[in-house]
């Protein structure tokens, strides 16, 4: 689900990646809201808040919000940079996995910091929210970039619009029969479902597992990274085995051909 790019991706790849990343984004968004009183998986609202703070003359708050928006921006920027430039040097899988690895590291840092060092100061809060926004930018940049913008999992504004358009299209019979549209609806529906599910689960379990929620999100991201690693390792293994077997048969074939030629040379048939 991670290593394939653009049009080479199957519907199943998109479904798996969309569901898992939406689940993690939903979790992060709710936990940040509970701890920091701030959303971290979408920036639409921040643009409105930025304008509001500017008009009120609250320069400090406006600057904070602007920095948060920029961190989300830099997350997506970094993600795509790694994908388009890293492909040549570290291979497709790794260049797609590195943004997720960075995101996991950010979330791990936030979890560990909250558990051990958090003094609830405003500076810490602003920094940690910024880090989460950067992580979400990384994730959104990755999913959008490798899926040709088919998957965006950190916010649901565009997705809700697309789903509404699709459902209205389904009022016509010929669109209902269109397999591509059916698959698109499936994908959007599953992203929405898993985003909400992530949020609900975090809301339910946060008060019992507290900051460990971040480790759960890391585990979900770990599944995405390792799933493809496992698949690639298996493919490599199977390919190597096939290569050995083919070589063996090739060698034997050559051997038997040579033997036959030798036989023919030694005892030519009359």
């Amino acid at each position: 689900m991670l290593r394939k790019y653009s049009n080479h991706r199957t519907h199943s790849d998109n479904l798996k990646l969309g569901a898992l990343t939406a689940f993690s984004a939903g979790m992060v968004n709710v936990i940040s809201l509970v701890i920091f009183f701030s959303f971290t998986s979408n920036v639409t609202g921040f643009f409105a808040i930025f304008s509001q703070e500017m008009s009120k003359g609250n320069w400090f708050q406006a600057a904070v919000v602007l920095l948060w928006i920029m961190l989300f921006f830099f997350g997506s920027f970094t993600s795509n940079m790694l994908i388009i430039h890293g492909n040549r040097y570290i291979g497709r899988y790794l260049s797609h996995a590195v943004p997720l690895i960075l995101e996991t590291l950010c979330l791990l840092f936030v979890g560990i910091y909250l558990q051990n060092f958090y003094g609830e100061s405003l500076q810490e809060t602003e920094f940690l929210v910024g880090l989460l926004l950067f992580a979400m930018g990384l994730q959104n940049g990755l999913t959008a970039s490798i899926s040709n913008s088919a998957i965006k999992t950190t916010h649901l504004t565009g997705l809700t619009t697309d789903l509404a358009i699709l459902l209205s299209m389904f009022t016509k019979k010929r669109y209902r029969r269109d397999v591509t549209l059916q698959k698109k609806a499936q994908l959007l529906g599953s992203i929405m479902f898993f985003y909400v599910a992530g949020g609900i689960i975090t809301g339910l379990f946060y008060y019992s597992i507290h900051y460990y929620t971040f480790y759960v999100v890391c585990a979900v991201l770990g599944v995405i990274i390792l799933y493809d690693y496992y698949k690639l390792s298996m493919m490599k293994y199977v390919y190597k085995r096939q290569l050995i077997v083919t070589n063996y048969y090739k060698k034997n074939k050559v051997k038997s051909k040579k033997e036959q030629q030798l036989k023919e040379a030694l005892c030519p048939e009359k």
Partner: protein
């Protein structure tokens, strides 16, 4: 040319934000000091012909005011070590912990019995503070508290 302009704008915005963050006082720093409560208002219901029944009012009241503590005309003294001293009219004192969350728009008060109150900071200037009790994510208002900054000397004079 256009690309370098775009990168330039981003760098400029980044630079401006950093300068503002360094130079401006944060809400946390602005809060430190003594604040006198000047008003405690319940916001009005906009529509007058709203039909309500006693049962729904009771349920809503419970839902809304479950964690609310009525603060009556007090001096709120925020110190830099995150301790808030509430000085009531009868001179009784309550000490709690305070934190500012979000982008500086949430004031969180932690009582010694672990009860937590959240307020949305609506306005914070050098001499005026307006906060709303934070009932829910989407609701602001109903209870509005306004404070004015009290200089140490004037407060001492008042007590005398």
């Amino acid at each position: 040319m256009k690309l370098s302009f775009a990168y330039g704008v981003i760098a400029f915005l980044l630079f401006c934000s950093c300068v503002i963050l360094i130079r401006e006082e944060s809400p946390e720093q602005m809060l430190v000091g003594k604040w006198q409560e000047v008003s405690w208002e319940l916001e009005r219901v906009n529509s007058e012909d709203v039909k309500t029944n006693a049962e729904s009012i009771g349920w809503q009241k419970q839902e809304i005011c479950g964690d609310m503590i009525i603060h009556d005309a007090e001096i709120w003294e925020f110190d830099a070590k995150k301790q808030l001293t509430l000085i009531k009219q009868d001179d009784s004192v309550e000490k709690l912990k305070w934190n500012v969350k979000g982008r500086g728009h949430i004031l969180e008060l932690k009582h010694s019995d672990k009860k937590i109150e959240d307020f949305q900071v609506h306005e914070l200037t050098k001499d005026r503070l307006v906060i709303y009790f934070n009932f829910d994510l989407q609701i602001r208002g109903i209870v509005k508290m306004t404070f004015k900054k009290v200089e140490d000397n004037t407060y001492a004079q008042k007590i005398q």
